[in-house]
C-alpha cells in the first residue's frame, strides 16, 4: 500500500515537473520578447519595480506550504535566469 502510494506520488511529481518546465520555458520566451521590445525602444531591460510587483503578487497568492520567503527566493531565481538569457543574447550581439 505505502509502496504503491509512493510510486503514484512519484509519477505525479514527474508530471508536475514537466508542467513546470513547460511554463518556465514559455515564460522565458515571453521575457525574451520583452527584451527585444525594450532593446528597440532603448530602455533598460531589468526593471526592479516590475520585479517587486510580481513578487508581491505571488506572495499575496501563496497558498502554502512554502513560506513567503521561499516563494520569493524561488521566483527570484527564475527571474534571474530569464535575465541571464537576455544577457547571453547581448553577448552574442557583441561577438
Amino acid at each position: 500500500m505505502t509502496r504503491e502510494r509512493l510510486e503514484e506520488i512519484r509519477a505525479q511529481l514527474d508530471e508536475i515537473n514537466l508542467e513546470i518546465l513547460e511554463l518556465l520555458s514559455r515564460r522565458a520566451e515571453l521575457v525574451q520578447e520583452i527584451g527585444d521590445l525594450k532593446k528597440r525602444k532603448g530602455t533598460e531591460r531589468f526593471d526592479p519595480i516590475r520585479e517587486k510587483e510580481m513578487l508581491d503578487r505571488l506572495v499575496a497568492a501563496n497558498p502554502g506550504p512554502f513560506d513567503d520567503s521561499t516563494v520569493r527566493h524561488l521566483f527570484k531565481q527564475i527571474f534571474q535566469a530569464s535575465l541571464g538569457l537576455m544577457e547571453e543574447e547581448k553577448k552574442e550581439l557583441l561577438v
Copy 2:
C-alpha cells in the same frame, strides 16, 4: 503598439507566474506526503538517485530557451526548498 504588446506580455507573465506557483505548491504537498510515508517506514527522506533521475528527465524534455544547466539549477532550487519543508517539520517535531 509596442507599449500595448508589452502590457499584453506582462499580463501573460503574471498569469504564468501564478500557474507556476500553483504547481510548485501542489508539488510541495506531494513531497510532504512522501516525507510522511518515508518517516513511517523509517527510510531516509533525501534520495539522490531519484533526484538525479528527475533532473535527467527534465533535461531530456527541455524545449529551451533555457540551457540544460539552467534547468538543472532551477529545479535543484525547487527540490532543495521542498526538502527544506521536511526539515522544518522535523524541527517542529523536536520542539
